[in-house]
Amino acid sequence: MLPLKEKDRRVVQMLLSARCCPRCILRFCSVGIQATYRLSCKELFTELHKFLNGDEDKSKEVEYGQPPCKKMRLQDSEKNDSDSEQNGAVKLLSNECVLPGDEVQTCSVCLGILQDLCEMDFVKKVCGEVDSAGYHFNNLVFSVSLPPQLLVREHATWLLVKQEVGQLGNILMKDDILQLKEVYKWITHPLLSEELGVPVDGKSLFEVSVVFAHPETDGDCHFLATACRECFRPTKNKQSVFTRMAVMKALEKIKDGDFLQQFPHQLEPPKRSCVVQEIQCSHNSIYVAGLNFSSSGREDVDVRALGNGRPFAIELLNPRRASFPPKELKELQQKINSSTDKIQVRDLQMVTREAIVHMKEGEEEKTKSYSALIWTEKAITKNDIDFLQDLQDLKLDQKTPLRVLHRRPLAVRTRVIHSMRVEYIDLHHFRLYLKTQAGTYVKEFVHGDFGRTKPNLGTLLNMTTDILELDVESVDVDWPPKLDE
């Protein structure tokens, strides 16, 4: 027994004669019970007829897919004698099209989405594609893209049904109609789970997406362009201006009367179902982080990284495998370290995307320690450079260095040198140890970069200075977390 009420009778009649599929009919009757939609179309069709004919066995067997039973038509025409308007409204929906043989007429509202395209055969086809893509996954999210003309057809059907039931004193709000996509998922999710052996989970990182298209009816949306010109501005990126978003907006804007006037009065029943344009699988990126010791990286090629090493993170795009046990990562780490002496890594581990965002933020706040070998143009004594050790939190204004200006915006950045320590070497050389704010250009502090870093070591010592060597002593960030060896 279907959970239908008396007020639904007229709706069911209308939509059945319009070659609407049983599931769409249930949607228009606000049936919200998931299990109902999982019954087969055949069964639902029979139940709908039972509902219309009052009780169980009175009606003759009606086969799903055959033209609406004559009996129902007669009932219609009997009722319609006195009410010509009702007649007219029914005529607005197509009443023709008897298909040869046992072919099921494709629903004019859902274009087959809630018919064969949610049955097990189709689901098996999707799963076949998923299997051949070779991903490892414990759950999945199923996303479906429907052609925009479905919105138009739904809207048209709603207006006509609304008109019809309005005459009987009932109201049908657009929100009363169950969403096509929601019902589609009610039906397909359990089937997918069964076939793939994993649950469907909205938060899953593994996505199976299916794109449907119905080229036959792509023209259904076009009349909206004349009615609501602002919604359909062509832009460089879009192939067609009739996107779901644009169509939805236009349908919100257009007045009911205008819509019915401009929309072709007959919702042509389609010749066939939607076709599958694409079935695609993809997995969200996963991240691996660690510390590296190499001669390249964020520091320039001629700067050596000492101490703990530089933190790094790698994003793996669309991975076929998403989980790696610590043991496997350790093996990978050993493999890397033994394969070359140019680079060494440690603390290799899986991390979340949030952790990386956090790390990048941390970069701005942290400090870095350097050691530099300085050359001075004028002869110096120990006394001449000692004062540098007394400078605390020296503020610098650094214009974007010329050596990176080709790829960074021109700007002035304020940076701080927290402290310095000196080691005198000879008349023209000394070693300078600096603790700086992250993002400080140390080379430019030393040679001045054409006077574009102020103050600079040259202005502080009142002579030309240059940098001969630069070493990164440490990067003072506690990320990623140290692993036990």
């Binding site: 050359w375 143009e377 004028k378 002869a379 214009k399 010329l402 050596r403 990176v404 200006l405 080709h406 790829r407 960074r408 915006p409 021109l410 008349l427 023209h428 040679h447 001045g448 054409f450 006077g451 030309t464 240059d466 001969l468």
Partner: protein, 190 residues
């Protein structure tokens, strides 16, 4: 009194490490008004005065430097934004960068010498014009110009390299010496 030893750098200076020097002599036909373009390996160019420029000869005193090159155009108003440096004034080879007035009344104009987008002019020399004369290749630079990416290779086509520049300088001295010699000769003969 301590005698300060100034040590000549035995290794290349910052400028010579990162830049190649290109020259344009007698710019706009004005004798000896030579410019030196410092060309970075990342294609950025720094416009500077060559050591042979009149402004860098002893005895010249700079009275005033101005980036207002016409009623409507001040190089100080140049503003670039973003990585692609949008908004910078586009310069051609003979676009004036600044005007320099000396205490002896002579006026000199510094030109771009290359095509490209003006990124910045050196405001430090406005405060201290002697900087231009003391450190013409570093703190006393005039402007920074970014050539178009497509033109970055051809940018040096209108310029001469350091060797060619030295040759021109030598031949100038020779000519001057010859002229001086001839004059002496004439004088002594008459």
């Amino acid at each position: 009194m301590e005698v300060e030893e100034a040590q000549a750098q035995t290794y290349p200076s910052m400028v010579d490490r990162y830049f190649r020097r290109w020259y344009k002599t007698d710019v706009k036909g004005k004798p000896c008004e030579d410019h030196c373009i410092l060309h970075h390996s990342n294609r950025i160019c720094v416009i500077t005065l060559a050591e042979s420029h009149p402004l860098l000869q002893s005895g010249k005193e700079i009275k005033n430097i101005s980036y207002q090159i016409s009623a409507n155009c001040s190089r100080l108003q140049n503003k670039v934004s973003g990585k692609s440096k949008r908004g910078g004034q586009f310069l051609t080879e003979l676009a004036p960068l600044c005007r320099i007035l000396c205490s002896d009344g002579e006026e000199y104009t510094i030109y771009s010498c290359i095509r490209g987008r003006l990124l910045e002019v050196n405001e430090n020399i406005l405060q201290d014009p002697r900087l231009l004369q003391r450190k013409p290749s570093t703190e006393g630079y005039v402007a920074v110009v970014l050539p178009k990416f497509e033109e970055s290779k051809s940018i040096t086509q209108g310029l001469i390299n350091q060797e060619q520049y030295q040759d021109i300088i030598s031949s100038r001295h020779k000519t001057t010496a010859e002229v001086a010699g001839n004059t002496d000769l004439q004088e002594s003969q008459s």
